[in-house]
């Protein structure tokens, strides 16, 4: 029988607490959960036959539910959905081989939660505003557009150049919003990972690792950002297990 691993949990304080919590929980398809312990780290696992495993959306949600419940009580590292090992012995060997990396990562996320911040916009309105601004006050660094001649290729270059300048304006605007976001959140000593222009409407997609006790301050900070950029829509979600802050590859 193989084992599916849900999370790696720090047990340096209370060895009995995890076992007690797991006794009242169920894994995918209602199977029992149990802990495989190595020193001060436990892997939360359930028995699983590969043949009966269905990698569907509902299974993934069940898997995430287990991690979510555990994260409310323990410092943990979520495992990737579908992490399966051959036996308890194999899991213990894996914990032993990766002990230092796991401990380092657990230390980083100790008493912290992940929060997500997405910034949406109506891209057409935003582009129109930027276009208007750029026409009213061209960038000082931008050289004048090349003289328009009556040639098809020159017209093509002029059209592309306008698009290029607008795109540069958009990137610079998004960078300024990101600077404001990080400026606000650095005060809360967050660790952040930010991607920009994920889609035309999702201009910023960020995740932050933050002390659990600072949740209200984070909400307040995002409220301030929303007031500063009324044309954008800030969405803050969480608290989540630290999915995006596990930085090691299982050896």
């Amino acid at each position: 029988m193989e084992q599916m691993i849900y999370a790696l949990v720090s047990e340096k304080i209370d060895h009995g607490k995890l076992a007690a919590s797991l006794s009242g929980m169920q894994g995918i398809a209602g199977v029992n959960l149990y802990a495989v312990l190595f020193n001060q780290i436990s892997a939360v696992v359930s028995d699983m036959s590969r043949a009966s495993q269905i990698a569907g959306k509902s299974t993934a949600i069940e898997y995430a539910g287990v991690i979510e419940t555990l994260s409310q009580q323990f410092t943990l590292l979520p495992m990737r959905f579908g992490s399966i090992m051959q036996s308890n012995e194999a899991i213990i060997h894996m914990l032993e081989r990766n002990y230092h990396d796991i401990q380092q990562n657990l230390l980083k996320v100790e008493r912290k939660y992940e929060f997500g911040l997405k910034v949406f916009c109506d891209s057409e309105t935003l582009m129109a505003e930027l276009r208007e601004k750029s026409e009213a006050s061209p960038l000082p660094s931008a050289t004048p557009a090349p003289e328009i001649k009556n040639s098809e290729s020159r017209n093509w270059v002029n059209k592309k150049l306008k698009e290029h300048r607008l795109e540069e304006l958009l990137v610079s605007y998004i960078d300024s919003v990101i600077e404001d976001i990080t400026g606000q959140l650095d005060r809360l000593k967050t660790i952040s990972k930010i991607k920009k222009m994920v889609t035309p409407t999702t201009i910023i997609d960020g995740v932050f690792l933050l002390d659990k006790a600072l949740k209200d301050e984070l909400i307040h900070a995002v409220g301030d950002l929303q007031n500063k950029f009324p044309g954008l829509n800030f969405i803050l979600t969480g608290p989540w297990p630290p999915y995006n802050f596990v930085d090691f590859i299982v050896k």
């Binding site: 040639s151 909400i219 979600t237």
Partner: protein, 115 residues
């Protein structure tokens, strides 16, 4: 995503669900799906995606140089003609293989979309 996970949102929950739905749909639609049945069109999609990526990078770099003022009028003229022809050729190829711009913007998972 359940409503109790949303800590701050000035828009509607429905609007947010729609945005999240779009993110998921974009990711699923733009995956490269190669199977034995569609090997030809799948390969065409893959090759054209790479060609389009390189073409766009070249175009971007060219516009930077034009904007920087380091090219002469003649150079801009020739560059424009070349890039315009490349764009037209690319349009022809997309039509031939029945592909759209969206098809060529493949999803790279955690890295986001290619273009």
């Amino acid at each position: 995503m359940s409503e109790n996970k949303i800590l701050f949102n000035t828009g509607s929950f429905d609007g947010l669900s729609e945005e999240i739905g779009n993110l998921t749909t974009n990711a699923e639609e733009s995956r490269l799906k190669l199977t034995p049945d569609n090997a030809d069109s799948g390969l065409a999609k893959l090759v054209l995606t790479l060609v389009e990526l390189i073409r766009k990078l070249v175009e971007k770099q060219a516009m930077r140089r034009v904007d920087g003022g380091s090219l002469t009028d003649d150079e801009i003229e020739r560059l424009g003609e070349t890039l315009m022809k490349l764009e037209m050729k690319m349009e022809e190829l997309k039509k031939h293989f029945n592909l759209t711009d969206r098809d060529l913007n493949i999803n790279l998972g955690p890295l986001g979309d290619l273009m």
